[in-house]
Amino acid sequence: MYVKFDFNALCKKILDEKLKEHGLKYRLLNFGEVEFYESLTQEQHTIFKKNLEDYGIEIIESQRTALAQKIKDAIVELVFSEEMIPVKASIYIAEKLNHSYGYLSNLFSEVSFTSIENFIILQKIEYAKELIINNKQSLTEIAHKLNYSSVAHLSTQFKNMTGITPSQFQKIIVKRRKAQSLISNTRMQYE
């Protein structure tokens, strides 16, 4: 048997039932947004939050956190996009979220303990790592794909972020995989 899920309806239903179960007075707004008619006590908030965690639902605390999350989403979209986005990251983010970049940048640093610039670099290096591991593209191609002016530029930023070079990284991952496959082979023999 195969089933098809309507995630939107599913999540809304769970949220609705849970809110009722906890006896809270509320109104469901847009997807993922709940308005309470009476503010929750600290205890109610904690219990409700704990209960939702079992369903993989996470309460995003405040508008500031939600906005920081939207910035992160925009950055991931920007970095992992298949097409080259022809504008500067700051302009892209500001336009996407409809706030000034200065405002977003301050808010992000306060909420996330890192700057937007650093977060972009972090995501780019994470992407570079994935591409290096997949082993389908050369470093030159990876550098180009991630919009670095040269391999040297990518390598420098990689090393600043991780303390090792891309080739050291690759070597470690290859050796680690070999070691791990040995372990799982022995495990299979025992079973």
Binding site: K49, E53, E58, I59, I60, E61, T65, K72, S112, F113, T114, F119, L122, E126, K129, E130, I133, M161, T162, G163, I164, Q168, F169, K171, I172, I173, K175, R176, A179, Q180, I183, R187
Partner: protein, 148 residues
């Protein structure tokens, strides 16, 4: 997910080192809750117990007694309960090969321990901040390798 602190386990035979790390953690912007152990065997005993609360990061001195750090990491890597835990090893002086071995065994972070308090604080602050990003943004810990 949305806690406002990271929980950390610290393993070091030397009480002075444990105090140093704890003092530094207290001063960081990101909250850190620390639990500590005096050797490798006590650590593994705790981690393998049912009531163990698995931390976000395990900080271990490379040189610990009873069970050494590499044995601990290998053991940790065979248990899926620890898949989300980042492991960090620190030492004053290790060769390139020894550091590589740590990573190949599955550790995520190597920290070169510094004598100077402020230098050490800077390094730990960097480590905690990047872990915070991995923790809050759901980044892939399998690819997390860092040397500071």
């Amino acid at each position: 997910m949305n806690r406002e602190y990271l929980s950390v386990i610290l393993v070091d035979d030397d009480e002075g080192n444990r105090i140093l790390f704890k003092n530094i953690f207290k001063e960081l912007k990101i909250g850190v809750k620390v639990q500590s152990f005096g050797n490798g065997e006590n650590l593994m005993e705790y981690l393998n117990s049912k009531e163990a609360q698995i931390p976000e990061i395990l900080f271990m001195n490379y040189h610990i007694s009873q069970k050494n750090s590499l044995e601990c990491i290998s053991e940790i890597k065979t248990d899926f309960r620890f898949d989300n835990m980042v492991t960090a090893i620190y030492s004053e002086n290790l060769s390139e090969n020894e550091v590589e071995e740590i990573f190949v065994n599955g550790a995520n972070i190597f920290i070169k321990k510094k004598d100077d308090y402020n230098a050490m604080k800077k390094v730990l602050s960097e480590v905690i901040t990047i872990n915070w990003q991995y923790y809050t943004s759901g980044l892939n810990r399998d690819n997390f390798i860092m040397k500071v």
